[in-house]
């Protein structure tokens, strides 16, 4: 296969979904890729918009069955987890009955672990996949280190691990290193993922704001043009009417209506500035949202409910004379209105134990005694 020779072609971005640039290409138009397999293969390297662009060339040939694009225009090559290519029909044939060894390197493979190919060079494919995996966990930032030296050491280590994985040096030790790192930095990793998400969110908001503003501006512009055209039309008609009916000097009439038109157009331009200032306001909000970060929601900002274990409301309620009316409420009128006698009981109990924390907790045992007033 002549992949090496064509690496330059890929670097110029010519091959993505555009058909082969092979000199032996005899077909004038690109055949549509149409999967011959019923399995939907996921994965692959996604671009920023979440799409996978699949590599595709006229010279494709399946290394297993030697079928090529000339024999089978629907040929689609997929990549295994050991980075060997084969066509969909070979995959169906070999792996439909369960995991089987790769016909090239004998590593045991599964059908669903095949992914579409994005890059012409499978080495690049592999490196991108590994770097993505590493970046997900090794996501520390400069702020997480006290000095530049420590940060550089960390980057060095990440590069080291990546290199080992790509060139398959000391795989078990490297995996162990990754696991150790993950265990040590679980909290920080989580935090950095959240930061990343928040940043993406802010970016999205800003984009949304910009888009809205652009739309509004375009709409305003259209409306204005329309208005201006109408006005010009009206002005012209006016002049003609006036020339027709008045007996004044023609030149004077024209000059007067021109002056009127000018006045109107300046009035219009001031109304535009109001809109623009509005748009500016929106933009400044978008800018702000990156300056002061939004904090996540904290349900309660005090420890009030930490004290709740000082009493327990009796399960069967209380047969006090105060709540007799509620307990006798056969019609359920108090129930239907939402009145809760439990709230009254809770209030009574809370007031009863309210002073227990005063004076301060010199004797912790007495402060934590439970009250249960059951009848």
């Amino acid at each position: 296969m002549a992949t090496r020779a064509k690496a330059g072609g890929w670097l110029q971005g010519k091959t993505v979904r555009k058909g082969g640039i092979s000199s032996t290409n005899t077909r004038s138009n690109t055949p549509q890729i149409q999967s011959t397999s019923s399995t939907v293969f996921g994965g692959g390297v996604k671009d920023a918009s979440g799409r996978t662009s699949e590599y595709f060339s006229m010279d494709d040939q399946c290394p297993v069955c030697k079928s090529d694009r000339y024999l089978n225009p629907k040929l689609r090559l997929l990549v295994s987890s050991c980075y060997h290519k084969m066509c969909e029909s070979c995959i169906d044939r070999l792996f439909t009955l369960g995991p089987a060894p790769c016909p090239i390197c004998n590593k045991v493979l599964r059908k669903l672990a095949f992914t579409p190919q994005t890059f012409e060079d499978l080495g690049v494919e592999k490196e991108v996949a590994i770097r993505r995996r590493i970046a997900k966990e090794f996501n520390k930032r400069r702020e997480d280190f006290t000095d530049l030296r420590a940060y550089n050491d960390y980057l060095e280590e990440v590069e080291d691990i990546t290199f080992n994985l790509i060139y398959e040096v000391d795989i078990p030790q490297t995996e162990a290193r990754i696991n150790a790192y993950r265990a040590q930095n679980a909290a920080l990793i989580e935090l950095n993922i959240q930061r990343e998400e928040a940043y993406a969110q802010a970016l999205k908001e800003q984009e949304e704001g910009d888009r809205r503003e652009r739309e509004m501006r375009a709409m305003e512009l259209r409306r204005e043009e329309e208005e201006e055209r109408e006005e010009r039309e009206k002005g012209r008609r006016d002049i003609i009417d006036k020339l027709e009916t008045s007996d004044k000097d023609a030149a004077k009439v024209i000059a007067k209506s021109r002056a009127n038109a000018l006045k109107r157009s300046t009035a219009r331009s001031t109304s535009t500035t109001v809109l623009q200032s509005n748009a500016k306001l929106l933009r400044s909000r978008a800018a702000q949202s990156t300056a002061i970060p939004d904090a996540p929601h904290i349900p309660l900002q005090d420890d009030w409910y930490a004290y709740e274990d000082k009493y327990i409301i009796g399960n069967s309620g209380y047969h006090d004379f105060m709540s007799e009316a509620v307990r006798r409420d056969r019609e359920g009128i108090m129930r239907a209105g939402g009145y809760r006698v439990e709230e009254a009981w809770e209030r009574a109990l809370r007031s009863a134990v309210g002073a227990l924390d005063l004076p301060p907790l010199s004797a912790p045992d007495s402060a934590h005694c439970m009250f249960s007033i059951n009848s």
Binding site: Q201, R285, D294, V326, R335, A336, G338
Partner: protein, 371 residues
């Protein structure tokens, strides 16, 4: 001069009264400042002399509850002193309210902004409820916004503490559009769930930018609610047909909230629907609401300092009010410099604004135990 008078004079000296910013039935509101620090405050002067049966009910309620509730999301009562025959409440100065913000069409709300306001509202309300206080007049107009964006619950003129078992409460509370169905059915025994319904309608209003359930009369209010949320069945709300003022108002089918709130996320609609459950006992509580996934889901609630604010400056509005747009039948408490013409009135059943203060005094007698 005895000790009490001396203490009062000392307190009075701490505060300086500036210009008048509004007037209600029972109070005049002035802008003021603390003499030593220059901190802006609002001073509410309550006219005592004109009521032959003493202080107005809502003034007593306001002092009673605000003295006890100190929380970031509840308006702070800084001081109380008397001058001549008047009682003065010194409250923190807040320049806008949520209603003004909702009505300002030049502002754009992000979903995160609404989340932030709702979180602050629920936090303030949870604090009231944990202290066994019902607010009973929640509406955008009573949610004031400080200059740093913090939302504060104000106007405790209709607040009361949770009733003891068997004691009746009045059902003529809460501005009609925000009043829950159990109060419209004349229920005299209710709980904190009434406030949650109000918060639910405010939540919807924040998304729609217009009042969610604008009924024209108490009857029409029920119809409006049922049209929006479907007529409750005995299963939805056991026992509601036995309520004192129950009247059948027609059958309306349930429509999913999704039809009206097309852009809202699933979490948002879930919380909204839990605030607007017909059976009060199943309605979500303020504490449960704070733990609802809506608040923890992305996007995070907007930092208060970044929330949209009204751009019109307060002094211009203050002048306008003094010019003669002062609303004489204002619902009273709540120190805000709001546009009087836009204010929603608390409607009493006869819906006559003149009887407003009388209706409130009637409340007082209704609250005495019946047994």
């Amino acid at each position: 001069m005895d000790a009490v008078e001396k203490a009062n004079a000392e307190r009075q000296r701490r505060w300086v009264k500036d210009q008048k910013v509004g007037e209600g039935t029972y109070a005049v509101v002035y802008r003021g400042r603390e003499a030593s620090t220059g901190r802006k405050v609002a001073i509410k002067k309550i006219k005592v002399g004109q009521f032959k049966d003493g202080l107005d009910m809502s003034a007593i309620r306001e002092v009673k509850y605000l003295r006890e509730l100190h929380h970031q999301n509840i308006i702070e009562l800084l001081d109380v002193f008397s001058s001549k025959t008047n009682l003065n409440l010194v409250l923190e100065f807040l320049d806008s309210d949520l209603e003004m913000i909702i009505k300002d069409r030049s502002l754009v709300f992000l979903p995160a902004d609404i989340k932030s306001w709702m979180a602050m509202t629920f936090r303030g309300l949870e604090f009231c409820h944990r202290n066994f206080v019902l607010h009973r007049d929640l509406k955008p107009n009573n949610l004031l916004v400080a200059s740093d964006g913090q939302l504060k619950i104000a106007d405790f003129g209709l607040a009361r503490d949770f009733a003891d078992p068997g004691y009746k409460m009045t059902c003529q509370v809460i501005t009609r559009w925000y009043r829950p169905p159990e109060l419209l059915f004349g229920c005299r025994y209710y709980s904190s769930a009434v406030d949650i319904w109000s918060v639910g309608t405010i939540f919807a209003e924040l998304m729609l930018r217009i009042p969610y359930l604008p009924g024209e009369s108490d009857m029409d209010q029920l119809k409006t609610i049922f049209r929006a949320l479907g007529t409750p069945t005995e299963e939805d709300w056991p026992g509601h047909t036995k309520l004192p003022d129950y009247i059948p108002v027609g059958q309306f089918p349930k429509t999913p909230l999704r039809d009206l709130f097309t852009a809202a996320s699933a979490d948002t609609l879930n919380l909204l629907s839990k605030c607007l459950i017909y059976e009060p006992r199943r309605r979500i509580s303020a504490k449960e609401a704070l733990f609802h996934p809506y608040f923890t889901a992305l996007p995070y609630p907007t930092h208060p300092s970044k929330l949209p604010k009204c751009t019109t400056n307060a002094s211009a509005r203050a002048l306008e009010e003094v010019d003669g747009n002062v609303e004489m039948n204002s619902t009273g408490p709540g120190v805000k410099v709001n546009n009087a013409r836009l204010k929603r009135k608390l409607a009493s059943p006869n819906d006559d604004s003149k009887t407003r203060s009388i209706a409130r005094r009637l409340d007082f007698t209704k609250q005495t135990p019946q047994s």
